[in-house]
Amino acid sequence: MSLKSIARAWNEFFLEPISPVPIALFRILYALIVLLDIVLLKPDWLNWFGPRGLVTLPIMQQMEPGARLDIFAFLPQTDFWTTAVFWMLLVSALFLLAGLYTRAASIVTFILVASLHQRNLYIVHSGDTMLRVTGFFLMFAPAGAALSLDRLRNIWRGREGVRPMLRAPWAQRIIQIEMCLLYFMTFWSKSMGASWVNGTAVYYVERLEQFQRFPMPDFLRSMAMAKIETWFTLAVEFSLGTLVWIKELRYWILLAGLLLHMGLEYSMNVPMFQWIALALYVTFIDAADLARAWSWVRRTVNARPVAFAPASTRAAEVLQAADVFGRLRLTDSAPRVESAASVAKAVLRLWLPAGGGDSRGVLTAAAPSRSR
């Protein structure tokens, strides 16, 4: 090993361009989770963040001192402004979901998510922490370089081709490392506890009434099963923190993680935590495998084709880039697509269920496509 080889490995890992599809997919899942999270918080929004809530801003600042990125500290302490933060976050998360002004949306979303947490740290769980931390690095990622309206706009303006450009993955790599830290540090902390080593930890967790969600079958609550579950948890957390980087083992380990989190989602009431952890997994999936999986979904669903006649190459490229469901057919006899408005309308037709909208573009059988 030499300094040169270390530098080469570092550059290859952090800077060698890769497909932006996995990080774009993570962006979509991230935005969905933020939206669901704030919808769950909405009924008690003023109780948690309002000026007459359970934790007032001065008390929060007294208990957690230090300069913090918290827009509540700059806004008037009124119900109106507290509620306004909800709507601002809702809009920015929707923009992030759609990939419209992605960079700006990711910055606003991060600032608002961080502000919510800083405003009331006493309702924040580990999943929230992961949401905040990965949101920070998502601001630097090419999250709008695929699966986004930004990309369709760029194609329309002639700045990009029909395939997304490869991008340096350094921000995605930090998000992956954050996921490994989550699991490995948890494993490390647990390895210092007697109950995790002797196998009784899950026995006690299952009996914490405030965490219980759906009823567990009796045989899963026995001490023997608790030991298996305890050690399985340790093994999976260790693997997700370390071995997940080994390509041949990766998908098996992610599958084990999926099983663990689905089990926790069934048995434990920690809303959104499991989904935040699972969303991180897509950053580990190879773009080619994502494409293969999506192709399988498309073939299985076999969505009804929609035909258009693009009047220009850029219109055709926008439609091709937007054709995530594989419905697009290009035929001269189909409705003509020329202006930006007609392209936008055609894109919507590609995304909406077959029955909706103008039926002229919907083919009853897959027509042979013609090159233009």
Binding site: A67, N269, V324
Partner: protein
């Protein structure tokens, strides 16, 4: 304008191929800036998250504390670690009205809620069971008492005193044959607050 044949059978846009175009190569300056940024943040998050408190690590954390707190990058991964809690617990408030009548006001308890409400109200568990009941969180108590006073006030009756009460029960180890043993509940009034007229507004 470029002309090229377009066919529906072509691979879709988001399917990468080896011939996929790359963005413009990063300049040397950009590569150096990114490397410094990545190296610093890896150092910072690992130093913050590692479950060790050696003098060197404590010193390093102190050096980056301002940045970590401001950005929100502070993190600790110790769910149910090193050992899970063995306490079932909840918090109630005893509300005393002007006419001497008392009622018990309870922060939402997950074990008494339906499946949907559990999703929406879980933050109350985090707030009350993990924080409010602890002596180390005493500064939270007056806010909580005022909140309860407002919630329990009626047009005809105003609370004059709020007692915050914690209830707990320790999960016992399994019996000799693996059977679950009963666990008694204990309660303790940890805070008393005299309601001021301005608190109810």
């Amino acid at each position: 304008m470029r002309k090229k044949p377009l066919r529906s059978e072509e691979p879709r846009a988001e399917e990468p191929t080896p011939a996929q175009p790359g963005a413009a190569p990063l300049s040397r300056g950009a590569r150096i800036a990114i490397t410094v940024f990545v190296a610093f943040h890896l150092f910072a998050v690992i130093t913050w998250a590692v479950p060790l408190d050696t003098p060197l690590i404590v010193q390093c954390r102190e050096a980056i504390k301002g940045y970590m707190l401001w950005t929100g990058l502070f993190q600790k991964w110790d769910m149910f670690a090193p050992d899970p809690s063995k306490l079932n617990n909840y918090v109630t408030a005893t509300v005393l009205y002007g006419d001497g009548r008392t009622t018990v006001w309870t922060f939402p308890r997950m074990e008494t809620l339906g499946y949907v409400d559990k999703y929406f109200k879980e933050r109350y568990r985090k707030y009350a069971s993990d924080n409010l009941r602890l002596d180390t969180r005493a500064p939270l108590w007056p806010d909580a008492a005022r909140y309860v006073a407002r919630a329990a006030a009626t047009p005809s009756d105003a609370p004059v005193e709020i007692d915050l009460v914690r209830h707990w029960s320790e999960v016992p180890p399994a019996g000799p044959h693996g059977e679950e043993l009963p666990a008694p509940w204990t309660e303790f009034t940890f805070y008393r607050y005299s309601v001021q007229p301005g608190d109810l507004r």
